[in-house]
Assembly symmetry: C2
Homo-oligomer: 334 residues x 2
Amino acid sequence: MGRPTMNDVARSAGVSLKTVSRVVNGERTVDPELAARVRAAVALLGYRPNLGATMLRRNDRRTRTIGLLLEDVSNPFSAALHRAVEDEAHARGVHVLTGSLDEDPARERDLAGAFARRNADGLIVAPTAPDQGYLARELQPGIPVVFVDRPAAGYRGDTVLATNRAGAAEAVRHLIAHGHRRIAFLADAPRIATARSRRLGYRDAMREAGLPTCEAVEPGPDVQAATPALLRLPDPPTALFTAQNLITIGAVRALRRLRLHRRVALVGFDDFPLADLLEPPVTVVAQDPAAMGRAAARALFERIDGHEEEPREISIPTMLIPRGSGELPPTGSW
Amino acid sequence: MGRPTMNDVARSAGVSLKTVSRVVNGERTVDPELAARVRAAVALLGYRPNLGATMLRRNDRRTRTIGLLLEDVSNPFSAALHRAVEDEAHARGVHVLTGSLDEDPARERDLAGAFARRNADGLIVAPTAPDQGYLARELQPGIPVVFVDRPAAGYRGDTVLATNRAGAAEAVRHLIAHGHRRIAFLADAPRIATARSRRLGYRDAMREAGLPTCEAVEPGPDVQAATPALLRLPDPPTALFTAQNLITIGAVRALRRLRLHRRVALVGFDDFPLADLLEPPVTVVAQDPAAMGRAAARALFERIDGHEEEPREISIPTMLIPRGSGELPPTGSW
DNA sequence: GAATCCAGAGACAACGTTGTCTTGCAGTAG
DNA sequence: CTACTGCAAGACAACGTTGTCTCTGGATTC
């Protein structure tokens, strides 16, 4: 005694199974009187088509579901991207399966496989694994994949990236323009592609100005150790450039604790909520996660709709937002 | 040429279709040699079972997918809750379909229906619609639903709620204990159940102390109008209690603009990232969205596993976190 | 008036899988 | 040697739906 089926509806309306199918699918070749009877029976029984059976039988195997693999749905960057994807999907009557990867390659494979088995029409992936070759094995051929935030390796698909290298260079040039010479870079794990690009941008700008680089990698997202260590150097940096929003926030906390937040300049990569309300307000190179999500979703839907072309690389520009912390002048010594 | 089927595997391994089915499902009644041949063929062809067909045929209709309907996946509260649900689901090999409702009852109905048609094993809903009676029509009977953050009407299910009324009263009592008498409440739309509970808590505490209430409802999430208007009253409040994180942030901005952030006390309902780094740090009554998500997911999985009992109501306590803004003393006039 | 056409409606097979029944064959007991 | 048992493996139907084909009967055509 599960849900009513087409057969139940047919019996109740006194027509054949196929006639019900026609009415449900809005075919025009049904006598209006019969169609009305069918619709009445559908309403009476509360009939809903079984999507599994439909997908099984139909030759256009569309589930109107896409998969979205993100770093961590509770990170503001991922959340904004998620939301943009969902809006684009919703506008097309498509639903979104989402999963968090937490920098775990195994989880990326598992989730991609699970979504593939659920017959997602396409995937949007922010890659964590060093290689996406597994997709060729997991995915039904022809299922499009769009990569976002980080480039993929071993699998071809459209890729939506922020201008990480150029944005980082712009941030560092901004500090240089404000008179800084000793600018330290607080980096994210070099395993992460965007972290590497941003480091290249930092080096570009420093080399260009003939300045020596000074880099520290934070082990975790909470900057507990690196910032104080840097500032205790004999010739300490007068400005910091942080590679990522969590690191930026960690640096803000550390500077506060050291009471140096008004003396050491700071520019962060990636905007975050309330950056403008901190003291001093934090200058950032903002990414546009909503634009990235929109672009990725649109690219994916184009592919799903049969668009066949070479995979594209779509750049979403970053934007420097001066707010105060990045415009502090260098101080001699403290 | 779509994905290989069991039939293809059977032909390739030189056995019958049913034998492949047995091997794939790990039945023990297969000759080891045949089983090995089948497994080789599966690997060779890259065979993956078609989940739709399996679900169609099986009598235990489990898709190992649950639906999660949230206010807005990009809101930190929703995002943290989402993450907790995902972690619980992941631990059980279950996947999560998520949708944002944006306070739109129609969207709630649509998404619930869509997830039901995708044969979700259960639903977690943060209700937006005034009534959830539609669930009886949309859902297959027996599909459990757990409500979270807000109570439901017209449908029975476990409900996970924060202690909104008590938490709000605690916040207001905290301000009273610091000497405030004129305490204004910046409310959220009264359409929202939690907003009503929090208002009741505010009134409880004010009545208890014999103080007159003073309430303003913000039209949108950006507090542009209400805060300045309140503070321009002839006898302006010396403290604000804000009903929700976005309203709190709006109030912080408004107080900053008016240069009153060190003179008007503020307690907000709902914690938010960086509240501790603002000037002054913002005192809040924190909810625990992760605990709420965990509790909701656990309740749902218990139901899915056949737990039959009266629907429960689970309370997740709030916690007052004094940080500075709520401990400012009242000022006479400015 | 007979032949043709057409639209509407039903019969039937098929999608990919699993539940149940049947078959075949080896091993065992009488 | 026959009858029975047990077990592996295949045949077949069924899940709920849609694609294709066939049938019916009334309207149109010559």
